[in-house]
Subunit: 443 residues, 2 copies
Amino acid sequence: QGEQKPFQRVIDVSCGDPHRAGMPPLSFARQVLAVCLYPELLKESSFPVDVRQRAEKLLGACNGGSVGSYSASSCGIPQIQKSVAEFITRRDGGVASDPEDIIFSSGSQKTLKLVLHLLSSGQGPTQTGLLTPLPCPHTLPMLLDEVGVKLVPYQLLEERGWAIDLEELHRALKAARRHCEPRAIYISNPGNPTGHVQDLKTIEEVIRFAASERLVLLVEEVYQDSVFGQDKKFLSYKKVLFEMGASFSESVEMVSFHSISAGTMGECGLRGGYMEVINMDLLVKNFLTSMQGPSSPPVLPQLALEIMVNPPSPGDASYEVFTQEILQKVETLAQNAQRACEFLNAVPGMSCQPAMGGVFLYPRLHLPAEIIQEAQRSGLRADVLYCKKLLEEEGVCLGPGSENGHDDENYHIRLCISAPTAVLEDVLKRLRSFHLWIQDRHH
Amino acid sequence: QGEQKPFQRVIDVSCGDPHRAGMPPLSFARQVLAVCLYPELLKESSFPVDVRQRAEKLLGACNGGSVGSYSASSCGIPQIQKSVAEFITRRDGGVASDPEDIIFSSGSQKTLKLVLHLLSSGQGPTQTGLLTPLPCPHTLPMLLDEVGVKLVPYQLLEERGWAIDLEELHRALKAARRHCEPRAIYISNPGNPTGHVQDLKTIEEVIRFAASERLVLLVEEVYQDSVFGQDKKFLSYKKVLFEMGASFSESVEMVSFHSISAGTMGECGLRGGYMEVINMDLLVKNFLTSMQGPSSPPVLPQLALEIMVNPPSPGDASYEVFTQEILQKVETLAQNAQRACEFLNAVPGMSCQPAMGGVFLYPRLHLPAEIIQEAQRSGLRADVLYCKKLLEEEGVCLGPGSENGHDDENYHIRLCISAPTAVLEDVLKRLRSFHLWIQDRHH
Ligand SMILES: Cc1ncc(COP(=O)(O)O)c(C=O)c1O
Ligand SMILES: Cc1ncc(COP(=O)(O)O)c(C=O)c1O
C-alpha cells in the first residue's frame, strides 16, 4: 500500500520452490525439453550431441513425433513408464519394479489427493483416518480436510532429530480408534519439513506396524536424491519391504510418490511426477489412472520425468556439466543446512535440529509470554503472528508451524534452504534481527 | 502379430489430434516456449526479436522469472487471466470479460468433467440430466457415465447440415423429465463432430430456451478460430447473451470452454485451456478452482494460452510468418473439408454433409444388410465392425458414430480433417477401396 519498508524486496522461502528462490535449473533437462518443443534447434550446433540424441529419442516415443500430440493412452507414454520402472529397479539394487505399477501424475500432491479420496469413507467413528506425522508437510492438513479424511497425529521426536517412534505410533493408533477408523499411515522420508532421514530399522518397524495393523502405507519420497547428512543415505520403503520377505512384500499395500518438483530437478512449474502402486487391487490402479483423465497426461512433464530417471551417463557429452550441477546443488543444500542450523542455534530463543536431507529446516521458537498473549488477543496462534510480523518488518516470508499441523504450545517456523547461499544469508540476517527485536520489545 | 498387411503404416484420424496426423505446430508459439524453458537461447540471434521480447515478458510474469516455479496461486498467473479476458473482450466486440471469471484448465475435457461433477446429483427421477446433441463429441458419453450424469439426447438435423432445432429441444426436454432432472444443456459450436456453425438466430433461441427452462449452458467453443464455410463466422454465446439484454445477461448461468488443443494451435500434448464462468455463484467458482488443485496449474500451458490469445501483431517481426502459418492451416482445413465431402458423396453408399468449421467430417454409411447381420452375430454395432475391419484391411483408424452417442439404425463414421492434404488423400482412397470391397462382397 505504498508504505515505506526497510527492505528492498520480499523473499519467500516458505515453500519448497527452489527456482523461485533463484536456484538454477539443470541445463541438460531444459536443453532437451527446449529441443523437443522446437526441433528446429536440432540443426543448431550449440547443443551437446547427447541433448540432440535424447530429444530425438523422446520425440520418437511421442505420437506423431511431436510433443503436441496426446500421449498414447491415459497411462501416458509406455516407454517412459518403463524407464521409470528401470530407474526404481536400479535404485533398489535389483528389487524389480513393474511398469504397470507406475502411474504418472500432475504433481505428487494431486495423486496423493486422489489416493486419499479413494480411501475416504464413513462418518464419525467410521470416518477414514490417516496416521500423520507432526510436523507434516504444510500442504497436507488442508488436503485431508478437502477429501474428508481425519488427521490422526503421531508426534515425531524433536530431541532425536525428528525421528519416528514406534511406541508413539501405537499410542496414536489406539487413541484414534475411539474417534475414527485409521486406514493408512503417511510417511515423508526424507522428511518435510523436518529434514530427518529414516534408517533401516525404523523403516522395518513402520512396515511391520503397517502390516500388523493393516494400514496402507503412503510414502512421499520426493527428496530421495537430496540426502546430505554424514553417513546418511536414502533407503526406499519399497526396497526394505521386498527385503523383508514374501509375507510382507506380497501383502502390504503401499504407494510411493515421487515428483519432478522436488530435489535436484526442482521443476515445480512443470507439474509432474509418478506414483508406484504396490499390492493394490487392479481396480484401484485403473481407477487412479482414469481419475486423472479424461484424456491423456501432459507430455512435457513425462519427458522431464524421463530425464530425471535417466540422467546423462559417463561418456555422454553432457555428463560432466550435469554431474557438476547436481553436486553443486547438493553441496549448496548441505552447506545451507549446516550454516542455517548453526546460525539459528546461536540466536537466543531459537533452537534447531540439524537436517540430513530434504529442503527444509524447522527451528523452534521460544517466544516471550507477551507475544503469545498478543496473539491470543488477536485470535491468532503465536507462530502465525510471528510470521506475519516478520513479513511486515523484514520482508521475509516463512511458514508458521501451525500449517505443518502443530497446534500445541511449541512454536516452530519452516524455511526452505534450497536457495542460493546469498539469499539464505539475507534471510538469516533479517530473521535474527527481527527475532532479537521481538524479544527486546518484550523485556 | 507379424501378419502381412497391404498397407505400410496405420493412419489414425479418429481424434482431433492434428500434430499426430502431421500438421506442423505454430513456429512462434514453439519458439517462445523453447526460449522460456531455456533462456540461454535469448542470446542466440536466430530467433525473431519479438520471440525474445515475448519470452522475456512471459518469464517476467512467472515467480522467480522461471517456468520452474509454482504459479502465484491456484488461479494461475494473474497477468495471463487478464490477457485471456482482454482477448474475449476484443473477440466479442467490446462485451466485457472479467479476469476473475477465467479459470485455467489442464484441457477442456478435464474442466468439463469438473463442472459436470458439480452438477451431478440425485438418482432415478432426480438424477441430473444433460441435454446432449446427437452426434456429440466422442469423449462425452463416457465422461457423463463417469460422473453419473444422464445423457438426454436431442437430435441434430442431418439433412440441414446438422443444425440444432428448437422443437427438438423442447421434445427432448419433455421426454427426459419423466426419467431424470435435466439441469444443463451442452453445446458444441463449431460442432464436433458435425462441422456445423451456429447462426445468431439459433444461438438466441438456445439461450432463450435455457433461460426459460433454467438450464445451465455448457458451451464448447474450442474450434472458434477454425470456421471456413462461405459467409460463416464464429459468434460466441457470451456475446449473443450479453446483446440480448440484462434480463438474460444477468441471469443465465453459462460456462464457455476453450482449449489450446483445438483449432490452429492444436497443442493437444501440452494440456491447457480455460473456461469462462458466467453468472455462477462465487462458491462454485472457488470450488472449480480448488478442485483442480491442490497446488497451482502447470506453467507452460498457461504460457501457450497467452500466446494463443495474443498472437503477433502487424509490425512484429514474426507477424508475417505467423499469419502465413495460420492462413495455411485454415486453408488446408477448408480445402480438406470440401475435397473430402465431394469425394465421399461420390462413393456409392456414403453421404456427407459439408462442414463449415471445426476439424471433423461425419459421413453417413448406407450399409448392406449382410454386414449389419454379421455385426449382430458378433454382438457389435455395424459401424463399430466397419471401423474394425477398415483398420485391419486398410490400416485406417476412423471413429464409429456409436462413440458419438448414435445408437439407431443410421450409421456414421467420424474423421479428422486437420491433417496434411496428402495424408487425407491417402485416408480417402483407402476408405473408398474398403467401402467398395465391403459392398461388393455382399452383392
Ligand atoms: C512432501 C512433499 N510432497 C510433494 C511435494 C511436491 O509436490 P508436487 O509434486 O505436487 O509439486 C513437495 C514439495 O515440493 C513435498 O515437500
Ligand atoms: C468438443 C471438444 N472439446 C475439447 C477438445 C479438446 O480437449 P482438451 O482441451 O481436453 O484437449 C476437443 C478436441 O480436440 C473437442 O473436440
